[in-house]
């Protein structure tokens, strides 16, 4: 077992992990954050997408030991403190950007990474950035609409290009 320290959604955690353990297993089973979903476990479906130091990764492929000294953002850490939804989450609700909802946390984390890098994406940018997230319900159009609406809302709020979740909060404290 290895001892690691990581920040998840702004909270520091000291945990023991096995070398073979995935970040997904750590997040769900040790930290109890069940928003991140386990789909294929091989990096194809994107349901387990989280941000590691602000970049989207398949947490099923990422080794938990390698999360040592890194900042992780999961769907639970996307909204600022409080009850209000992040504009991306709000847009998915309003646009009906989901049906069964299993892929949704991963889709939203991919979208969050896109909007942090590119606050004014085209529809093609959105489709390309979400190409690693498989949804078997929606046909994607309502998902794409939701991301474009959220981008507009973030720009209107003067939050264009804002980095989401723990990374932004830890950095602002530092």
């Amino acid at each position: 077992m290895q001892s690691i320290r990581l920040a998840v959604n702004g909270q520091p955690h000291d945990v023991m992990v096995k070398p073979e353990e995935s970040l997904l297993q750590l997040i769900r089973h040790k930290l109890g954050l069940k928003g991140t979903k386990e789909g294929c476990s091989t990096g194809y479906c994107g349901a387990c997408t989280v941000l590691v130091d602000g970049a989207p990764v398949n947490s099923c492929l990422f080794f938990a030991v390698d999360a040592d000294r890194r900042e992780i953002t999961t769907i639970e850490g996307l909204a600022a403190d409080g009850d209000a939804l992040h504009p991306l989450q709000r847009a998915f609700v309003d646009a009906g950007g989901l049906q069964c909802g299993f892929c949704t946390p991963g889709v939203i984390m991919s979208a969050a990474a896109l909007l942090a890098e590119n606050p004014s994406p085209t529809e093609s940018d959105v489709r390309s950035s979400l190409s690693g997230n498989i949804c078997r319900c929606t046909g994607y159009q309502s998902i794409v609409n939701a991301v474009l609406t959220a981008a507009e809302e973030l720009r209107a709020q003067g939050r264009a290009g804002e980095r989401t979740g723990s990374t932004a909060r830890l950095r602002s404290r530092a």
Partner: protein, 292 residues
Amino acid sequence: MQYYEPNFVDEALVLLERFGSRARMLAGGTRLGPLVRQGGADIHAIINLKRIEEMATIVKTGATLHIGALATAAQLRRHPAVREHAPLLADAAASMGARQLQTLATLGGNICSGDPASDLSVALLACNAICQIVTPNEGAASFLIEEVLSRVPPGLTPRELLTEIEIPLGPYRFSYQKMTTRRAFEMALVSVALRCRMEGDIVAEARIGLAGAAQTTIRAVSAERALAGKRINTSVARNTARIAADADATPQSDSRASDTYRRALVAVLTERAVLGCGQPSVTRPTIGNGGL
């Protein structure tokens, strides 16, 4: 299972010497992760290379672009020096679909996996890249990329560590063409990477890499010869494509595509690549049938 996190190449070499084939090196982890967690593989130690900073730099010195083996596809897609001096590699990296995968997958991992459909490897073949490989006792040595990629069995030996890839630069034209069935985490069915050195409007030298067209990524040497000395036009492009498909490609059928279809794709994509080099501007990759 033991876990190590060396900070320097020398530390990694000590571990390689000690564990040999009982160790696996972790770079992107896109293959190692599932392998380890599915069990069955006889792995005693994981050596995480990601903290070795000297293997993660991208720097241009003179007419060479030095890229650390740990450079990820996301870095290659975005890095100004790669985009400017090795756009073929940036295009190949950008074609790798899923952003999540681009964050993780490394240039070194693409080479060492020996995958016949590797996007980055086929771009390196066309770029005439050099691999710097170190071993515990013999130190560093340079290998041509095609030497490394044509090894049987594919990949490096348990005592070798790929540290850096060098790309010779020059006034080249490039074209990267790829076909997949969808964009996400999808290796190419076939991809073609072409680098041309022009003298006026004549192709003085051509290097063509093919992925998904043989048991390994290969150079299309016959097609290269056919293209050299020619002025690019529709009939030259078609003739080069036919030679690449008939003389160079030796595709095999698998669950993703038949040999006949792969051979047809080699012809179509090679023709597009040649025509793409007919003008000075760099073409963007052609990718499959769309994303979502």
